[in-house]
C-alpha cells in the first residue's frame, strides 16, 4: 500500500517504513518528504538542490556550508552562523559575509561601455 506513495514498507505487516529525506542546503534542516504532496518544492539554482518551505530559504541563497566556514574562521565573535530564524532568516551580522567575498559588496564600481566608440569624424 505504500509503494504508490513513494514509500516502502519492507516489513509489510511488521510496520517498517522507509521514507525519503532531504536536507535543506540553506537552513540545514532534515525534511521528510510527504508522499501525498502535490505542490512543487522550492529549488535553489545556485546550490542545485531542493530547499525547504521556509520563506527565506526560497528567496535567498544562504548556503550552510558558507556559514560553517564563517563559524570556523570567526568563532570568537559568538555569532550564530549556523542558526536560522523561524522564517529561515540569517541571525548573524551580515558584514561577516563580506569577509568570504573577494570583492565585498559595493566595492566594485559599475563599468560602462561606450557604444559610440566607433563613430567616424
Amino acid at each position: 500500500m505504500f509503494e504508490d506513495r513513494g514509500l516502502t514498507d519492507h516489513g509489510q505487516r511488521l510496520g517498517i517504513l522507509e521514507s525519503a529525506l532531504y536536507t535543506c542546503p540553506h537552513c540545514n534542516r532534515v525534511i521528510a518528504k510527504n508522499p501525498q504532496r502535490t505542490r512543487p518544492r522550492g529549488y535553489c539554482a545556485k546550490c542545485n538542490r531542493t530547499v525547504c518551505d521556509l520563506p527565506v530559504c526560497n528567496s535567498d541563497c544562504n548556503p550552510i556550508l558558507r556559514d560553517v566556514s564563517l563559524a570556523q574562521r570567526f568563532p570568537e565573535t559568538g555569532q550564530p552562523f549556523l542558526l536560522r530564524g523561524p522564517q529561515g532568516e540569517l541571525l548573524y551580522d551580515l558584514k561577516f559575509q563580506d569577509k568570504e567575498r573577494i570583492y565585498p559588496s559595493g566595492s566594485i564600481r559599475n563599468s560602462s561601455v561606450r557604444l559610440d566608440a566607433g563613430s567616424s569624424r
Binding site: 529525506l21 532531504y22 536536507t23 537552513c27 540545514n28 534542516r29 532534515v30 521556509l54 550552510i64 556550508l65 560553517v68 563559524a71 570556523q72 568563532p75 570568537e76 559568538g78 550564530p80 552562523f81 549556523l82 542558526l83 536560522r84 530564524g85 523561524p86 529561515g88 541571525l91
Partner: protein, 159 residues
C-alpha cells in the same frame, strides 16, 4: 574522514520546549565540537524501550548556551585505526545546556514502545556543527514531548 559513534543507553527523556535551559542530567544526548573540530552527523538512531505505548517527539536541535563543564564521553571510532575523536559527547554537565528557540534540525516522532527510528542523511546532506561556541558548536538530541525510555546513538564524521 573518520567516523565516530556516540551512544546513550536507557535514558528517560524530559519534555524540553524550545529555549529550555539548564537541562537535567541524563535527559538529553549531546555532542560537542572543540575550537579545532568540525563534525557532520551521518546517522541518528533511536530505539524505544518504554514498557507501554508512549509517543515521543524527539528532536535534534542547536543550543543557545553550551553546557558548563560537561562530562565528556569519548566517541568510539568506527574504524579502530582512526585517531581519537576531538569532538566529544555528553549526557551530564555541571550546568546543562540551553536549547536554541529556532527551527529544529530533525523532528523524529515515534512510539517508544519498541519503535525504532534510524535517520541516515545522504552524502552531502548532513547536519553540521563546528568550532565549539554556541550556537554553532553543539547539537542536542532530546524530547519535545513524551517521556518513554530510549537508547540513542549519533554517528558523526569529523572533518
Amino acid at each position: 574522514m573518520a567516523q565516530y559513534g556516540t551512544a546513550a543507553s536507557g535514558w528517560t527523556p524530559v519534555a524540553h520546549a524550545d529555549a529550555a535551559s539548564a537541562l537535567a542530567n541524563n535527559s538529553y544526548h549531546a555532542i560537542r565540537t572543540t575550537a579545532a573540530s568540525t563534525l557532520r552527523v551521518t546517522e541518528v538512531f533511536i530505539g524505544g524501550e518504554a514498557t507501554s505505548s508512549t509517543v515521543n517527539r524527539m528532536s535534534l536541535r542547536r543550543l543557545s548556551t553550551n553546557a558548563a563543564t560537561p562530562t565528556n564521553v569519548a566517541p568510539g571510532p568506527l574504524n579502530p585505526l582512526s585517531a581519537a575523536s576531538v569532538s566529544q559527547s555528553y549526557v551530564a554537565a555541571t550546568t546543562g545546556p540551553t536549547i536554541a528557540s529556532t527551527s529544529h534540525l530533525m523532528n523524529l516522532a515515534f512510539n517508544s514502545f519498541g519503535g525504532v527510528i534510524r535517520v541516515v542523511p545522504a552524502p552531502g546532506e548532513e547536519v553540521w556543527a563546528t568550532a565549539s561556541t554556541a550556537p554553532n558548536g553543539e547539537l542536542v538530541l532530546d524530547s519535545i514531548s513524551g517521556t518513554g525510555v530510549v537508547s540513542t546513538e549519533v554517528v558523526f564524521e569529523e572533518m
